[in-house]
Amino acid sequence: MLNQKSKTNSIGDVANYEFSPMLLWRHGDRLLLEFEPSFDGSSLGVNWADVSYFFGKGIIVRAGYLVLPFGTYNKRLAAGWINKLAYDPTSITSSPVESDWGIEMCGGWQVGRQKVNLDVALSNGFGINNDGSIYNPGIVDNNLAKTVTGRFGWLPISNSSLEIGVSGIYGRAGMDTGVNRNVSTIMGAADIQYIYSKAPIAINIKAQYNVQYVSRMFYVNPGDSTGQSLFTYNNYTQGYYAMLSLRPVVPNKVLRNFELAGRISQFETPNGAAFETHIRQIDVALDYWINWRTVIKLSYENLLQTNPANAEIALADSKSLSHIIVVQFSVQF
């Protein structure tokens, strides 16, 4: 049972839009500049801005503001015309892992009938807030330490239909001075994607599981107005998403443009933290592909967020359940 119920949605709102032009500039066959600003009606941001050099033999070196190679969602699947649901999974949007300033080396290689790929980045990394949550400091780093991010991908089937990946991040998150200077963060992820297409159906499966651990430290108790008492907890965060979509592979020109997609995602911040939150997100969408890069999505989302009570730091519990229906139009050009 929910403690409170409130209806805040209404039909007829054209609530959100995002304009993210992807700008590519190539100099010869080896140098590529990539820049993607993003404007959502209220703020202007940058998704990535980097320069890549193609060494040959599959090796690419990149520098700038780059998408960290942690899992596959942020780097490959986040664009509105690729994502089959109207929203991104909460396990991705709630994570501090996104783009960062640094350098990266990556590549993909054929190994017999299989393929492997490797992606390693060295970047500014993460900082830690007073409550133990992790944030991304951006271009002005919070310490001198750099963070290593890497992903190894394996495509065991010769038609590239299956990819399994493991990722990791390690870096010091604490400031260079102070009692928390040695606090570090370790993250891991496992991802899988599988596609199958044979009349009369095409199946698309994508999933990613993330864990995040911050080494032990003491936090100021937000329930103590004097700011003198400290407390600690096991700073362990986890989240996942799993998506399945089905699309008819039939001669009918209208029917084959429909796609039905469903996804579940969960995000759990540490038990006992002041920011403890449990989010469960279920999405279902019926998509219609106007062409290969233009889609209309009729999407429903069920979002349950729970913040448990914590007597030690004087936090009351709260719950919210949202039902969201969205019609979304996405186009890439």
Binding site: L24, R113, G150, E163
Partner: protein, 86 residues
């Protein structure tokens, strides 16, 4: 911890280098056409693009961007771009 990570990265690099250089590409894989590679690889993330979506010269740029995202091999990128340019 830093030493462990350095050792793991070094071992992974050695294994990868040895594997890549030790395995010859299967003839069936080497004979795949650009059209086949286009169908197999693009749909890993999104619908396979229409060749008329860009001017032929621009496909080279798009191919480089896609290689860096999906970590295609050089051979795959070149064959897919050649197919899309036709």
């Amino acid at each position: 911890m830093k030493k462990i990570i350095t050792i793991i990265i070094a071992i992974a690099g050695i294994v990868l280098y040895t594997t890549v250089n030790g395995c010859k590409i299967n003839q069936e894989i080497a004979d795949k056409s650009g059209a086949q590679l286009w169908a197999e690889n693009c749909r890993r993330c999104h619908n396979a693009p229409d060749p008329s979506a860009h001017y032929p010269e621009n496909w080279v740029t798009v191919g480089m961007h896609m290689q860096s995202r999906a970590l295609l091999t050089d051979r795959e990128r070149d064959k897919i771009v050649q197919f899309l340019q036709q």
